[in-house]
Structures are given as structure tokens and as C-alpha cells.
Amino acid sequence: MGVGIEVESLNAWFGATQALQDIGMRIAPNHATAIIGPSGCGKSTFVRCLNRMHETLPETRVTGKVRIGEMEVYGDGTPAVLVRRQVGMVFQKPNPFPAMSIYDNVAAGLKLNGFRDRRKLDEIVERSLRMAALWDEVKDALKKKSGASLSGGQQQRLCIARALAVEPNVLLMDEPASALDPISTGKIEDLIFQLKENYTIVIVTHNMQQAARVAEFTGFFLLGRLIEFAKTEKIFTNPSDKRTEDYITGRFG
């Protein structure tokens, strides 16, 4: 099941440059939340702070609190690896392991964690591929075809299956469909809709229509600050802040 995310006074830096300023947000469990805003507003940095990916870059720093379910993401005793196992991530450009088979791509995370039960592994791979709506298209060539042999849209769903295989509670998606054609985009969006039943989803997108289609809540970021966070219908029909309105109506950004 998905869990809620609570963000409190979150700040993030790249060297001396502050990328996020005092972000507070409560993300509802089992819903999709979209993060929108112009390039450089901090939206990707924000999601990368949710699973401690931000700190993997040199000279970065984070302060503030992120709580995912019961887990203090930046708590003293919380290992980053544990956080990332609970918070899966899908990136803009599909990045399957090119030399591995489809099966091994999905099983990679589990194998890395020392999982060896063959039969259980088969089950998890099938379940993950089914949840990612890819099973029917690849079931006959699971071990014959490589991840790289799939189309772009299939590769992205493979990456989603890979993220789901380690049974996270939260799925972060950073522009998951921006490199895909409309058909594949539609499939990913349908998938997001289904995945909400079991996961909490945070999706960064430049495509406002996409945010409107898939997310129940939307946050608008500008210059590292969260300007407005509300139900998606409210943001796209009657936002409270002038800056949100100017952005979504295309008057700047």
C-alpha cells in the first residue's frame, strides 16, 4: 500500500546555490501528486530529495524533514539504501540495463539484495511486468530479448516494472513520458492511474495537460519555492496565486 509523505522546512543546495527554500507539503497516500513549474524551479531537486538522490551529486546539502510513512528519510539512523528501496524512481529517459534480458532487468534489484528463490523470483517478475502493463507484450521473450531491444514506451514500462519489483511504497516519476509518443504516453498515464491503488505517486512534468489528466493534487514551484499546492482541478481552473495563474496560462515561463 502507498504511504503518505510529509515534507517540512525542506531546503536543498548545490554548492552555494540554494535550489529549494523552505518547502512544506503533505502528499496523500494512494494518490498521484504532480509537480509543475518552469525549468530550474527546483521540481526535480524536490523529488530527488524524497529518496535521498540529491545527496549523490557532489557538493550538495539538504536540511529539513521528510517523513515517508513512519520512516524519517533524513533521520540519523536511516540508511539511504533503505529509503531508495521504499521509494522507487523512474526517469525521463528510459534506462534499462542494455545487456540484460527483460527478465534480469526486472529481477536486478532483488538479485542485488541477495534474493535467490527462483520460483518466487519468477512470480515477482511476472507480477511486476503485469502491473506495468508490459507482460502480454514480452512474456514470450523474457529471457531471450534484451531490455534495449524494446521500443521507447516499452522500455519505460520495463523501468517501471523494475522499480515495482522491489515493492516500494512510493513511486517518483521525473518526466516519465516526455520522451515518448502519444500512444506510449497514454499507456504510461493509464498505468499511473492503476498504480495509484497500491502506490503513492509523485510525478514531475512539464506537460500541464498531463498533470491535469493523472494527478489529484498539484504543486507549483517557482525559483525554488512552493508557490501553491492544491487539488488539481483548483490549480487548473481557478488558482489562488497570481504567479500560478500566469504560469499555467502561459503568460511567463
Binding site: M208, Q209, F236, T237, N238, P239, T244, E245, I248, T249, G250, R251, F252
Partner: protein, 227 residues
């Protein structure tokens, strides 16, 4: 700044204002025809209806294109929805003017009768509502639109009074029943014009404030009166 989109919105606004002018003029002409028993004015109202209908289709076409091609959001989306609805109301205002002109033409085939109804007064009240509703659209001011909502009760009351006194006239003097019936229908048409003006004002409030005030004015004023 999305220049082409902005041009599209400006175009829509101008077309709607032109349409509003035509609808308003049609009502004024029909009422002038009533006052002056002028057949040629009636004919002009009937002839101009096709222009209003063409304008309605034109505006819907521009609005549909903007929705499909520009994916408007927030205040722009509300503006386009409001324009589409105001457009339909203005077309109906034009229809009411045609109905009035037809009643006037019918009355002119009959001997003039003294009737206990002040059609010109009712016409100027309804016409003022349309005019102010359009002003609130031009200015984008919800306060102006709000004032229009408050005027609707006045016209409703005039229609009710006309109904009572005209029915009495028909009973007391059956010889003028047809003229009284025509006047009654005109009063009803004018009351409908006022209703369309109210709808327009509500759509302006929706566009400007993002608030849906339809069907709530009576409730609010009742609550306000009780407190």
C-alpha cells in the same frame, strides 16, 4: 506571452461584443416598434435575426478552435466557457426580439386598445439589464454583474403585475382579448430577456472570480434578509 493565443482571445471578445450589440439593438427596435406601431421596424428585427444566428455560429467556431488548439487554462479557460454560454444567451435574446416583433405585427392588424401594462417601462428595464451585463463583460467587473442579478426581481415583478391586470382586462372586456394576449406574451418575452441578462451576468462572475453563482442569488438574498 502567447501572442497568437492572446489575439484569439481578443478576437473572441470583440466578436461577442458585436453580437451583444446586435441582440440589444434587436430588443430596442422591437420595443420601439411596439411604441410607434411601426411595421418596418418589425421587419428589420426579423431580417437581422439571421445575422445574429451567423454571429453565434462564428463565435462558437472561434471558441472551439481556441479550446482545441491552445489548451487554455484557469482564467482563460473560464473566459472561453463564459463566452460560449453568453453567446447562446445573446442568440436567445435575439429570438425574444423576433417574438416581440411578431406580436407587434399581430397587434397592428387589430384596432388599438388601451391596455393596463407599461411595456416601454418593462422594455427599458430588461434592456438596461442586457446593457449592464455586457458592460460587466467589457470591464471584467464582477461588481457590475452582481448589480444585474439584483435587477432581475424588478422585471419579474413587472411581468407578474402585467399578468394579473391583463387577465382582468380579458375578463372584463373580451373584445380586446387578442391584444391583451399579445401584450402578455410581450411581457413574458421581456422577462425572458431579463433572465438571459442574468445568465450573462452570472457567467461574467464565473469568468472573473471563478465562482459559480447560478441558482444561488435567491437563496443568498433570503439568508441576507433573515440575518
Amino acid at each position: 506571452m502567447r501572442t497568437r493565443f492572446q489575439q484569439g482571445l481578443d478576437e473572441l471578445r470583440e466578436k461577442l461584443l458585436k453580437m451583444g450589440g446586435m441582440a440589444e439593438q434587436a430588443v430596442d427596435r422591437a420595443c420601439q416598434a411596439y411604441r410607434e406601431r411601426d411595421l418596418s421596424l418589425c421587419h428589420r428585427v426579423l431580417e437581422n435575426e439571421s445575422q445574429i444566428n451567423a454571429a453565434e455560429r462564428d463565435i462558437d467556431g472561434v471558441a472551439l478552435d481556441l479550446l482545441a488548439m491552445q489548451q487554455p487554462m484557469a482564467i482563460d479557460l473560464r473566459f472561453i466557457l463564459a463566452v460560449v454560454k453568453i453567446n447562446a444567451d445573446l442568440e436567445r435574446v435575439g429570438d425574444q426580439a423576433v417574438n416581440i416583433a411578431e406580436r407587434v405585427m399581430d397587434m397592428m392588424e387589430l384596432p388599438p386598445a388601451e391596455l393596463p401594462v407599461d411595456v416601454p417601462r418593462m422594455a427599458s428595464a430588461a434592456s438596461a439589464m442586457v446593457q449592464r451585463a455586457l458592460e460587466s463583460f467589457i470591464e471584467g467587473k464582477a461588481e457590475l454583474a452582481q448589480a444585474v442579478l439584483e435587477m432581475d426581481n424588478v422585471v419579474d415583478r413587472m411581468r407578474d403585475e402585467a399578468f394579473i391586470s391583463l387577465v382582468r382586462t380579458m375578463n372584463q372586456n373580451p373584445a380586446v382579448t387578442r391584444q391583451a394576449l399579445d401584450a402578455l406574451l410581450i411581457a413574458r418575452n421581456l422577462e425572458r430577456v431579463a433572465d438571459h441578462a442574468t445568465n450573462i451576468a452570472e457567467d461574467v462572475i464565473f469568468w472573473v472570480r471563478g465562482a459559480d453563482v447560478r441558482h444561488s442569488f435567491g437563496i443568498q438574498s433570503t439568508l441576507g434578509g433573515a440575518s
